[in-house]
Symmetry: C3
Subunit: 366 residues, 3 copies
């Protein structure tokens, strides 16, 4: 996220920083952002979807981000953007303040031998920094977070309270990890012995998380058996997501809350998994695959496919199957009607048949 | 919960405190509660369901809570209640002891500047109390819990070990939060840029939790983008539940374990969601809606409806569809039989037809 | 897990320790294990599945564990085992190093009155050991873990950072609990009062975890209402699993990630539940029951059954039903064709009928 610079900007300054044209008085002072219905006169708001345009006249917002095509219909201060939602996100980052944290290393933190801290690193109360761990410049490790031995965390990261990054894991730059998330727990691997007991396979790999990844709260990312479990650049993960050992998640993917991905499965770039989706182990989901909420993916998927259902199938097939199931009562009635009609035909022909058979007899007698 | 007062009560005292009639010797001493099959003679037990009445004679319990209608069938000390389970719950609260905790603030806790503590607040070892946080009278913050900056927690709350209540969130009175739960993590919100990268939308709202709410272990409740994520009075939430940003859960609702609710969805009062239910974002579930376990709710639901399935439909429809699916093998057979009968008819008519056609020829020749 | 002894073994030593025959030079030095495709010449690798035999010639591994039947096809150092995967697991344990931890009790740990520590116990920084807790010999409690009052933990356990074992719970020997897991949170139990409010039923039982159990990260195991929630010997549990109050999990069972089991349900021995499975409360799953991922089990299950689906049914039934659903489009076409053929028959008979009726008339006039 963009580092916070000021608590107020003029409309003209915002237009310049955000790289978009504006309408109205450039001296208007903006001190934050807010939704149309609640924004005060010193706030910037936005219209992401033209169907909510009727809310604009009632909004008290000091300025509004809108698509250029709508500019002429609105006689008030505007920022013009082809992507109002994106421009709004960037504006909000300008005003956003990170949760406060002490400068330097808090006196109640435990810092082991051989820890390396970059410039302007902040480490909160009751934090654990294991031996040989390295924390990059300006990264914030909030109170009660845990960094294990030999962990490396890049620059400008936010490690929230109660995050556990276990021994040997590697975190890139500008990574955000939310509270309660565990990175580097053992993968789930056992070999059965002669008596059916489960013998642990030690998990000696690590987790690698690349730049610009964000991971939500109370997630679990297991370390690899060998090698690494790997979350690639720009991927954003919601809360309570489970990534098993040796999983690879490609760049710029989105994993919504409560997703679970089993061991050694690989996701391509720009994959989107809806909430509560499950993916079995040892398969591949191609680039830009999208899977609907609660689906269960049991086979590898070609790039670009949209899947849904448990077991998941392509959208079109799911809707066809679903429509067919809804059509079952009608099919039942159609069968019943056919049974009636066929019975009538049979009954009628039974009447005919004796005569016909008689005819046949006569014929054969001819 | 009722504060613990004594370690033993007589049957007569219990009857008075609980507001129910009793049978038997009022001087019988009761020192706790227990199930019928395991209760010792100094324990109170209960019969919540008449179908287990056969267990009563074998129970060693000193007294039993039963429905008044069953009283005459049982010649032993009783408490009579139209709601034995409720009366038992209240009795159990009388005997229940909270997990022990030091008086005052433990010396290993971190207490920032400007923290306000009400009378009889207890703060355990290694707790983090952020700057400007306020803790109401008699609230207990157990060891290793984390209270962020500017958080307010009401009176008589129980904040268990390893709870994370992040900056600015507001907790009412008599709220219980179990270990590992995160309140106030960032909502999951991103805008896509021109290159398909996900740009973070700062989450500047809070979480508000009203009086008498209980939240289980390892849940996640995200802060709002703007405004608040809101859990209303009396709602009880099980473990590993995910509530996204700007969700509102109405009063006295029940969310069973592993439920996930997506952003901005609103639940009414007395809603019940079974385990592992998923609810999409931006919809409304009316008062008293009940959803069966593992269901997926994709559309707004009228008050009072019972839903089940993924996608969830009304109970009746689900059972009808399900019955139809079970009927498929029979339908398949019916179709096969019809095909056979129709083929027979056709075959028979083929025999007829040449003659009939001959007849026609004759006729036309007539 | 086997305690680490040395950092290098000869092939002959490994064969003796693991109790398997070998081929090749017994003096070959092995310093670790690795997969076929990545193992260096000082590593032991393994071929668990004959279908990957083509990878063996390219592998640089110093020795390979293979089935005896394959030995003659491979002219290189080997360990021969009927269960290569199991032998590999045991070899890997020989080389595995536990995450480092200080000797003794770290000075920043909180240790309450009356704590008993066995010989060679290690307690990390910022750990909480509640009053009256007992930790068995050689057990490691890593930094920031929380052990409540009156908890007992056996010998040779690994309690990872951020584990919460709450008051009164009992943990056996050689138990491993991963970060973020909560053991002993309150069960989810409420009685409804006259106004529809939920009155808490105090949860006064405990959790008991027997020897050789392993529990993943961010799991929740609720304490019993009365008595105990119980995980029996040798069971292995993945991440984010929810076990409700009074659940019993039998010996040597496997619960994959994100499973949820509702209150008072009992699982037999050697039960296997796939990822995201849900099981309702108050039922029994017999020994060796296996349930496919994402299934929902709503009824008790006989020993040895394989189930799948939501609601879960036996494998065979599920595949039949599923096949029938896939056959729906064909059934629809068959019905349509039957309708056409019956209509043709009817049309043809309509032609016949007037004549036939005429015939009848003639006949009756005869």
């Amino acid at each position: 996220m963009t580092v916070h610079q000021k608590s107020a900007y003029t409309l003209g300054e915002l237009a310049e920083i955000l790289g978009v044209p504006y309408r109205g008085d450039p001296a208007i002072v903006i001190r934050g952002v807010g939704p149309l219905e609640a924004a005060e006169p010193d706030r910037l708001s936005f219209l992401a979807n033209a169907k909510y345009a009727s809310m604009v006249p009632r909004s008290r917002a000091g300025a509004i981000v809108v698509e250029p095509s709508l500019a002429d219909t609105m006689d008030r201060p505007l920022l013009l953007s082809e992507r109002p939602y994106l421009t709004m996100a960037r504006a909000a980052q300008l005003f956003h303040r990170l949760p406060p944290l002490n400068d330097g290393v808090h006196e109640t933190a435990f810092v082991a031998e051989g820890v390396e801290l970059g410039p302007e690193v902040r480490v909160g109360p009751l934090v654990h920094l294991g031996s040989g761990s390295r924390i990059g410049a300006r990264t914030r490790v909030y109170g009660s977070a845990y960094i294990g031995c030999g962990v490396s965390v890049g620059e400008d990261c936010l490690i929230y309270p109660g995050v556990y990054i276990l021994d040997g894991c590697r975190i890139g730059d500008r990574v955000i990890v939310h509270s309660g998330t565990v990175i580097g727990s053992d993968g789930y691997g056992f070999a059965q012995d002669e008596q059916g007991r489960h013998v642990k396979i030690p998990q000696s790999g690590i987790v690698q998380i690349d730049d610009d990844v964000e991971i939500g709260a109370n997630c679990t990312v297991d370390r690899a058996t060998f090698g690494k479990t790997w979350i690639q650049r720009g991927t954003k993960i919601d809360n309570l997501v489970q990534l098993a050992h040796n999983v690879v998640v490609g760049e710029h993917s989105l994993l919504v809350a409560q997703v679970g991905i089993a061991g050694s499965t690989r996701l391509g770039r720009h994959v989107v998994l809806g909430g509560q989706v499950g993916v079995v182990g040892h398969i591949e989901l191609g680039d830009a695959v999208r899977v609907g909420a609660q689906s269960g993916v049991a086979h590898s998927v070609e790039p670009g496919k949209d899947l849904i259902g448990s077991p998941a199938v392509e959208h079109r097939q799911w809707f066809r199957t679903h429509a067919n199931i809804q059509r079952l009562p009608r099919m039942k009635n159609q069968i019943r009607e056919l049974q009636k009609r066929v019975a009538e035909l049979e009954g009628y022909l039974k009447q005919l048949r004796p005569q016909a058979e008689e005819d046949e007899v006569h014929e054969s007698n001819d």
